[in-house]
Amino acid sequence: MRHILSVTVENEPGVLSRVAGLFSGRGFNIESLNVGPTLDPGVSVMTITTEGDEQIIEQIVKQLRKLITVIKVVDLTDLKSVLREMVLLKVNANDANRAEILRTVDIFRCKVVDVSIDELTIEATGNYEKISAIVGLLTRFGVKEVSRSGMVAMKRSIQN
């Protein structure tokens, strides 16, 4: 099962390598990993999407907590949380299908951020399902390039 982990770390050199090395060294899988600073310059937050059964996820969480530079690990999977990913897609567009692509963009409330004679670059933001759906729909027009941010996530304040 897919799990989203929010990992609060000390913002210091080598911390990404410690986390990434832990996953590769122990044979855990990283689907996506996103790092960014917080309001506290000494602290960064990583959002890691990973997959595994209960026992593996338990090990991943415990091994992460064991790293000296990791301050806090929260598994957001069973909590109410906001999950978002951003993706940029460069799609083939000609006079015959441009209107159809734009309609799809509209329905999914995406944005066209760059245009040229035969392509459109689309920015889509959403949860995992939405991103999968839009990528799936646009593939038939021919997607030339994809760039994904990886999931970012936050626990909701109200859990009930």
């Binding site: 000390e10 050199p13 080598g14 390598s17 410690r18 090395g21 832990l22 060294g25 026992q55 338990e58 090990q59 415990k62 091994q63 907590r65 064991k66 000296i68 530079t69 990791v70 301050i71």
Partner: protein, 563 residues
């Protein structure tokens, strides 16, 4: 007054209680070596950096304190990596100080530059690169704190040359506080009650003790629990000595080369109390058939050890000593209410019957020396009171099986990583930690050659370390596997060319003995142990003797090959 980085470093080491430091100089640490003569620290010059780290490790294991070593950048640093991984696998507190090229040169592929922090990230508890001299005291304090607390382990500090030269005001940090590191050492009261009840209810309990009992100094509480509640005890290689080997409840080691009694007891127990052990594959054999009838209780300070290899019923994250003492307190009133001796008698009798049925044994010979008999003779001659170090292989298992350990911190062996060449430098470290003790390295003819250069260190420091080589002319453990599982294809395991170990000892200024006849064994061994200074005893033993019992890798513990 301002001090240089090198001066601050040495002052910090002194304040951390370091008395002896094992090291080897080089360009990047020359500033530190320049200050060493002005310090009260005893520096032991090794002959190879691997010797330095193993000696620091041996010092730590024998003393229970943090070991410390100092090496230069580049090759000096990389030579310690095997020793760091050894200490990491066995949770040994060591601080490794490595030199580094000056900070402006880092990343330029400078002479003797290597990213040792990057290299050792997966085999240290934590590591640091000190880029600013004002951070130095703080980092050293944290390094020692991390090494000795929680689940102990090696911590590396990389020290660029310019940082050692720069001056700053020395401020000793009063306290170490780390927001991201707060190991939980106190046992959960509810879990203690639960475990105590399981112990009260158990009919066939067994204690499976590991190195954590020794590290936490929990051996007394463990011995109390076992003896008062009449629970048989088995231990891992790392746990040997945590319970008196002469006690009737002692079953010997469990696992691949464990005793028949220990493995049968695990297989039939209804309660396994695992303390400071980590269900290593060499212990469990086939995991799905390990302790099939038992409720598993797992006490360990490291949460990642729990549910890693085996799914346990009752986890208890705590310092082993504190957990065992809490159990003692909880169970003391039960002694008046329940007669554990009578209650466990059928079980204890059964376990003893197994021990009688298949004890640790070997076929004696009148013509060749049996390696097991060498260990037995050493035990007799030393009354079981020596500190025994080992290398890795058959001799290591025979030492574990046939030298009965009654005290903790007296058996030093690379358990997790299985590092050949560990024993002799570790014995040097142990001798510095315990000058009062006889320290013996039980070695194989293969392993001893991996760090033989440390003879110079031992002789130079007038150490009385005794090396007893069980010389069978083979890399015996690999040969045993080839015999049993690879159709006797002895590929590259025969040590055709060997040095003359007696002459080798003499060349280094040590004393050498050779024993070839069983009739000479006791007399010459006694003479060797009584000879002052460093001694090598080359004992020519039965060449194709095997270690038994043996559970083939991946088999169930009950599938033992016996003598």
């Amino acid at each position: 007054m301002e001090l240089s980085g090198a001066q601050i470093l040495l002052e910090c080491l002194k304040r951390e209680g370091v008395e002896v430091i094992f090291g080897f100089p080089g360009g990047a640490v020359i500033d530190i070596y320049n200050e060493l003569p002005n310090s009260s620290l005893k520096h032991v010059l090794v002959r190879h950096e691997q010797g330095a780290i193993h000696a620091a490790d041996g010092f730590a294991r024998a003393s229970g304190k943090v070991g410390c070593c100092l090496v230069t950048s580049g090759p000096g640093a990389t030579n310690t990596v095997t020793g760091i991984a050894t200490a990491y696998m066995d949770s040994i507190p060591v601080v490794i100080l490595t030199g580094q090229v000056p900070t402006p040169l880092i990343g330029n592929d400078a002479f003797q530059e290597v990213d040792i922090v990057g290299i050792t990230r997966p085999c240290t508890k934590h590591n640091y690169l000190v880029k600013d001299v004002s951070q130095l005291a703080h980092v050293i304090r944290q390094a020692f704190y991390l090494a000795r607390t929680g689940r102990p382990g090696p911590v590396l500090v990389d020290l660029p040359k310019d940082v050692m030269q720069k001056k700053t005001k020395f401020v000793w940090p009063d306290d170490v506080k780390m927001r991201s590191y707060n190991p939980n050492i106190k046992p959960h009261a509810g879990q203690i009650k639960k475990v105590a009840q399981l112990i009260r209810d158990a009919e066939r309990p067994i204690i499976y003790a590991g190195g954590g009992v020794i590290t936490s100094k929990g051996h007394e509480a463990l011995t109390w629990l076992a003896q008062n509640l009449h629970i048989p005890v088995t231990a891992t290689l790392m746990g040997l000595g945590c319970f008196p080997g002469k006690d009737k409840l002692w079953l010997g080691m469990l696992g691949m080369h464990g005793t028949y009694a220990a493995n049968m007891a695990i297989n039939n127990a209804d309660l396994v109390l695992a303390v400071g052990a980590r269900f290593d594959d060499r212990v469990t054999g086939k995991v799905s058939t390990f302790a099939p009838l038992a409720t598993l209780v797992h006490v360990d300070i490291d949460p990642t050890s729990i549910q890693k290899n085996v799914s346990v019923h009752v986890p208890l994250v705590a310092d082993c000593r504190l957990a065992l003492e809490a159990l003692k307190e909880e169970l003391t009133p039960s002694l008046a209410e329940y007669d554990f001796e009578t209650g466990h008698l059928p079980w204890v009798s059964k376990v003893r019957a197994w021990a009688k049925e298949h004890p640790l044994t070997y076929k004696p010979s009148e013509t060749t020396i049996k390696p097991q008999s060498v260990v037995e003779t050493l035990h007799e001659l030393t009354k079981g009171e020596a500190v025994i170090c080992t290398e890795v292989g058959q001799h290591q298992m025979w030492a574990a099986q046939f030298y009965t350990f009654n005290e903790p911190n007296c058996f030093l062996s690379s358990g997790g990583l299985g590092t050949m060449g560990y024993g002799f430098p570790a014995a040097i470290g142990a001798q510095f930690a315990r000058p009062d003790k006889l320290v013996i390295d039980i070695a194989g003819d293969g392993s001893i050659q991996m760090n033989i250069q440390e003879l110079a260190t031992s002789v130079c420091n007038n150490l009385g370390v005794k090396i007893v080589i069980l010389n069978n002319g083979y890399l015996g453990m690999v040969r045993q596997w080839q015999e049993l599982f690879y159709n006797k294809n002895y590929s590259s395991t025969c040590m055709d060319a060997q040095p003359d170990f007696v002459k080798l000892a003499e060349a280094y200024g040590a004393t050498g003995f050779r024993i070839t006849a069983p009739g000479d064994l006791t007399r010459v061994l006694k003479q060797a142990l009584e000879t002052p200074g460093t001694v090598i005893v080359d004992v020519r033993v039965e060449r194709e003797e095997n270690v038994y019992p043996m559970v083939p890798a991946g088999a169930s513990l009950t599938d033992m090959l016996l003598v």
